[in-house]
C-alpha cells in the first residue's frame, strides 16, 4: 500500500492534512481529511457567563468571528426569551451582511481568486493575489479600497473589526448614531459598485475561458449530496435568519424547520483518526463516507444555499442567479466548483442588503435591548460565509452556561470535503497523473469550499502550498512533490 500525505493542504483553523492510501495496483483505496487541531471550546464554555459567549465563541474563527458572535447572541435571545427590538436587529443584520460581503470578497480575490482569475497554466509565481493585481490593476485597487471601507462598517457597529463585542442577549450594546449611518451608507454604495464590477469581470474574463467551463462541469468535481441552508418566507437565502431548509440530492424538500427543531435531525459521527466530527441527516443515517441520494451526507455554504433557495432576495443578485441557473440547466447544482460562482451571487445580495439596511429609518432607533426572561435553553442559527452554523446552549438560573454544543460550517462540509478530494484523487490516479496536476487540482477542489483560511498561500508569490509524500507498500518514502 502506498500512502500520500498532503500536509498541510489547508489551514482550516490553522491545520489540516489529507491522506491518500493506494493499493498494490496503484488504485486509490481511501482518502481522508484529518484535522489534527483541537482547542475544545465546547469543554471550556461550561461555567462561563452567558453574555460572554458571543465574545468567547468568536475566538473559534478569526476569519468569521461575526458568524459565531451572532449565532451565539441568537442562542442567548432564545434562552432568555427575548424579542430583539427592531433597531438592534437592523444593526446586527447590517453588520452581518457586511461580513458576508467582505468574507466572500476575500475568498473570491485573495484566496480562491487565482483559480478563477488566472488560467490553470499560469506560472506558479503569478498564482497569487499579486498576480491578480498585476493583471487587473484597476480591480485590485478597488478591491483593497472597498474591503477597507467594509471593515470600517464592521468596526463602527461591532466595536472591533476582528472579534466584535456589540451583541448581547436581547439586543446590542448601544444605539447607532446618525453620523455613523451616513458613513455606512456611503461605504455600502461602494460595495454594490464593486459587486457589479466583479460580476462584469466574471462574465468578460473568467466564464468565457474554456478551461474554467470544463472545471465547472468536470465529472470528478460533481458530487451529488443533500443541501442545507437558511431561507426566508419567500424561499430566498437569508444569512442572518429564517428556516433551515434541507433539499435532497434529487431536489426534493426533506424538511424546512426552525433551527431548534433541526438539531434533532442531525447527528455527528465520531472517528478516532480526526478531531473533526462528521454530521449526517438522522433520517438517512450514517453510511460511511459516501455521497448520493441514500447517504446522510449533506453540504452547506454558497452552493447549498443557492440550491435550497428558489430565488434571491435582491434584484441584481436575482439577475446573476438566473444566469447561474441557465448555465447549469438544472437544480440542484452538484458541481463543486460552482461554489465560486454561487459566492459571487451571494456577495451581490449581501451588498444590496447592506444598502437597504443602512437606509432603514429605524436603524438608528434608541431601543436596542429587549426585556429578558428567566434563562434556560436556546438555539441560534445563522448562515456563516461557509455555511449553516448552530449554537445550542443550556443555561442555569444564574445565566451561566451548563452545556454548549456548536456545529460549525466547515464541520458540516467535512465529509464532503473528504469525498471531493477522494473523487479528484481517484480521477487523477486513474490518469496516471500524480505530480503537479494532482497537487493543484486537489487543492482547487478543497479550496472551492473555502474552508476558513485554506490555501491562503496565494497571498504572495510562492510555490504550491501542499506537499505530497508518496510511500511504497512498506512505508518507505518514494517521492516527495511540491516542497
Amino acid at each position: 500500500m502506498r500512502k500520500i500525505a498532503i500536509d498541510p493542504i489547508t489551514r482550516l483553523e490553522g491545520h489540516g492534512k489529507i491522506l491518500l492510501y493506494l493499493d498494490e495496483a496503484g488504485k486509490l483505496r481511501d482518502a481522508i481529511l484529518q484535522v489534527p487541531e483541537l482547542r475544545g471550546f465546547e469543554a471550556f464554555c461550561r461555567g462561563r457567563r452567558a453574555e460572554e459567549m458571543p465574545q468567547i465563541t468568536a475566538r473559534i474563527c478569526g476569519v468569521c468571528p461575526e458568524a459565531h458572535h451572532l449565532a451565539s447572541a441568537k442562542a442567548l435571545d432564545a434562552a432568555y426569551h427575548a424579542d430583539v427590538p427592531k433597531p438592534a436587529l437592523l444593526q446586527r443584520q447590517l453588520l452581518y451582511n457586511t461580513y458576508i460581503f467582505s468574507d466572500h470578497l476575500l475568498h473570491l480575490v485573495f484566496l480562491g481568486g487565482p483559480d478563477l482569475f488566472l488560467p490553470e497554466d499560469e506560472g506558479k509565481s503569478e498564482r497569487n493575489v499579486l498576480g491578480i493585481i498585476r493583471r487587473f490593476p484597476e480591480l485590485g485597487r478597488q478591491v483593497l479600497a472597498v474591503r477597507a471601507r467594509a471593515h470600517r462598517i464592521l468596526e463602527i457597529i461591532g466595536g472591533k473589526a476582528i472579534h466584535p463585542v456589540f451583541a448581547l442577549p436581547g439586543g446590542v450594546a448601544q444605539p447607532l448614531p446618525e453620523e455613523a449611518r451616513r458613513e455606512i451608507l456611503a461605504a455600502a454604495e461602494s460595495m454594490v459598485e464593486l459587486a457589479k464590477t466583479m460580476v462584469r469581470v466574471f462574465h468578460e474574463e473568467i466564464l468565457p475561458r474554456p478551461g474554467f467551463q470544463a472545471l465547472l462541469l468536470a465529472e470528478e468535481a460533481w458530487l451529488p449530496t443533500h443541501y442545507m441552508g437558511l431561507v426566508d418566507e419567500g424561499l430566498a437565502p437569508n444569512f442572518y435568519d429564517g428556516l433551515v431548509r434541507v433539499l435532497s440530492a434529487k431536489g426534493e424538500e426533506i424538511f424546512r424547520l426552525p433551527g431548534a427543531a433541526v438539531l434533532g435531525r442531525i447527528r455527528e459521527h465520531v472517528e478516532p483518526w480526526t478531531y473533526v466530527k462528521f454530521p449526517y441527516l438522522v433520517d438517512l443515517g450514517w453510511q460511511g463516507l459516501r455521497s448520493g441520494p441514500d447517504s446522510g451526507i449533506y453540504r452547506v455554504g454558497p452552493l447549498a444555499r443557492l440550491n435550497v433557495a428558489e430565488r434571491m432576495a435582491t434584484p441584481l443578485a436575482q439577475e446573476e442567479y438566473e444566469r447561474y441557473l441557465d448555465f447549469f440547466g438544472e437544480k440542484p447544482v452538484h458541481a463543486t466548483f460552482a461554489y465560486h460562482w454561487a459566492r459571487l451571487v451571494e456577495m451581490v445580495q449581501a451588498a444590496e442588503c447592506v444598502v437597504a439596511l443602512a437606509r432603514d429609518p429605524e436603524l438608528t432607533g434608541p431601543e436596542v435591548r429587549a426585556k429578558l426572561g428567566r434563562p434556560d435553553e436556546g438555539v441560534g442559527v445563522v448562515e456563516a460565509a461557509r455555511g449553516t452554523l448552530f449554537h445550542h446552549y443550556r443555561l442555569n438560573a444564574q445565566g451561566l452556561v451548563e452545556e454548549a454544543n456548536l456545529i460549525v460550517a466547515t464541520t458540516h462540509n467535512a465529509p464532503s470535503l473528504s469525498l471531493s478530494v477522494k473523487q479528484m484523487a481517484a480521477a487523477l490516479v486513474e490518469r496516471g497523473s500524480l505530480e503537479e496536476a494532482l497537487l493543484h487540482r486537489m487543492e482547487m477542489a478543497f479550496r472551492a469550499y473555502d474552508p476558513c483560511l485554506a490555501c491562503a498561500t496565494h497571498f504572495l508569490p510562492g510555490g504550491t502550498p501542499v506537499v505530497v509524500e508518496i510511500y511504497d507498500a512498506h512505508g518507505n518514502l518514494l517521492r516527495r512533490v511540491g516542497a
Binding site: 500512502k3 491522506l19 461555567g47 450594546a173
Partner: protein, 319 residues
C-alpha cells in the same frame, strides 16, 4: 541594511492574528516591501522541512500566534526559537494563553468533546497517522521557549502592529518589550470617572449602560484599571467593558488578583467598620465565573499558580 528576515507561525489559533496584518491596509504593502518572509504558512509556501533546513539564528524576527495545545505546536516553537534571533509572542494566546487556555480549568478536553473513553487513533487499515496528542495543559509560548518581546491583543490592534514593524525594521526591539502602553487602559478611555463606589456588581446584559460614565462606576466589571492601554479603549467606547486582551499593566502582576484587590476597595455597602464586611461580601458574590471573567486571556500564564495552590487543599480533603 540587509532586508529583515521575518517568520510568522500559528499554533492553536483562530486565524484572527494572521488576518490582523490586513488591518494595516496599504501600510502592509509598504512593510512587505521591506521584509523577506522566510516562513509564514498563511501567506507563502514554505514547509516545516524548509524551516528545519535554515541555519541557526538565520531568522531576524519570528512571530508566533496561538496557544500551545498539541505536542506538534510545542515542537514547532522550539524549532522556530532555534532558527530565530528574536522571537515574539503575537496576540493574547501566544503571550498569555488566550481564551483557549480557559480549558486548563478542567481536565481532558478530548473526552469532554467526543465523549468518555475517546482516544485518538490511526485511520482504519493503518498503523500510523493518528492525530497528535494534546498537551495536558494549554500553554503560553514563554512556558516552552524564551520569548523576547510581545505584541499583545486579541488580535493586536493595527496601531500596535505598526509600532512593532517600525521597531523591527529599525532593529530596535529591546528585550522584554511589550508593544502596548505601560499605563492602564483607563488613561485613554473617554468615559468619565466619578465616585468609584460600587454598591452592586452588574452584568452587561442586565443594564443599559450610561454612554458617558465609567463602566466600573456603573457596577460593570471592566478590567481597564489593570489592563494595558494601546487600543484607544475600543470596547468601552462600544459600550462594553474591557476584558483584558492587551494583558496586565506591568505593576499589576496577576491581573485577577490586581482586579480583586481593586474591586475590594471600590465596593461599599454604605456602612463603615466591621459590620460592613458581610454586606460587602454579598456584593462581591455578584462576581460570577471569576476565572472566566478575570483571567479571560491570561489563564495559562497566571492560572497555573492558582491550580497549584488549590491542589494540596484537595489532597487534604481527600485524606
Amino acid at each position: 541594511m540587509p532586508t529583515l528576515k521575518l517568520a510568522v507561525y500559528w499554533t492553536g489559533s483562530c486565524g484572527g492574528c494572521d488576518v490582523s496584518f490586513l488591518e494595516l491596509g496599504e501600510g502592509l504593502l509598504d512593510v512587505l516591501s521591506q521584509v523577506e518572509i522566510v516562513f509564514w504558512p498563511a501567506l507563502i509556501d514554505a514547509k516545516r522541512a524548509d524551516l528545519a533546513a535554515l541555519p541557526k539564528g538565520s531568522i531576524d524576527v519570528a512571530l508566533v500566534n496561538g496557544v500551545l495545545r498539541t505536542a506538534e505546536n510545542a515542537e514547532m516553537v522550539e524549532l522556530l526559537r532555534e532558527k530565530s534571533r528574536l522571537l515574539g509572542a503575537y496576540g493574547a494566546c501566544a503571550q498569555l494563553g488566550g481564551v483557549p487556555a480557559l480549558a486548563n480549568q478542567r481536565n481532558n478536553v478530548t473526552e469532554a468533546v467526543f465523549g468518555p473513553g475517546y482516544r485518538p487513533a490511526p485511520p482504519p487499515g493503518t498503523a500510523e497517522d493518528a492525530p497528535p496528542a494534546l498537551l495536558p495543559e494549554a500553554l503560553a509560548v514563554e512556558e516552552v521557549v524564551p520569548v523576547d518581546f510581545a505584541v499583545p491583543g486579541c488580535p493586536p490592534p493595527a496601531g500596535l502592529i505598526a509600532q512593532f514593524f517600525q521597531a523591527a525594521l529599525a532593529r530596535e526591539i529591546e528585550p522584554g518589550r511589550v508593544f502596548a502602553k505601560d499605563k492602564a487602559l483607563c488613561e485613554e478611555c473617554p468615559r468619565v470617572r466619578e465616585d468609584r463606589r460600587i454598591s452592586r456588581i452588574v452584568r452587561p446584559h442586565e443594564i443599559r449602560a450610561d454612554p458617558e460614565r465609567c463602566l466600573l462606576d456603573q457596577g460593570l466589571i471592566c478590567l481597564g484599571p489593570v489592563t494595558r492601554g494601546g487600543c484607544a479603549a475600543a470596547c468601552p467606547k462600544a459600550g462594553m467593558p474591557c476584558t483584558g486582551c492587551l494583558g496586565p499593566v506591568p505593576q499589576a502582576g496577576d491581573p485577577a488578583l490586581a482586579m480583586v484587590s481593586a474591586l475590594a476597595s471600590l465596593v461599599r455597602a454604605g456602612e463603615e467598620g466591621e459590620s460592613a464586611f458581610p454586606e460587602e461580601d454579598k456584593i462581591l458574590d455578584g462576581l460570577v465565573d471569576p476565572i472566566g471573567t478575570l483571567y479571560k486571556y491570561a489563564f495559562a500564564k497566571y492560572g497555573r499558580k492558582l491550580l497549584r495552590l488549590r491542589r494540596p487543599v484537595r489532597e487534604e480533603v481527600a485524606a
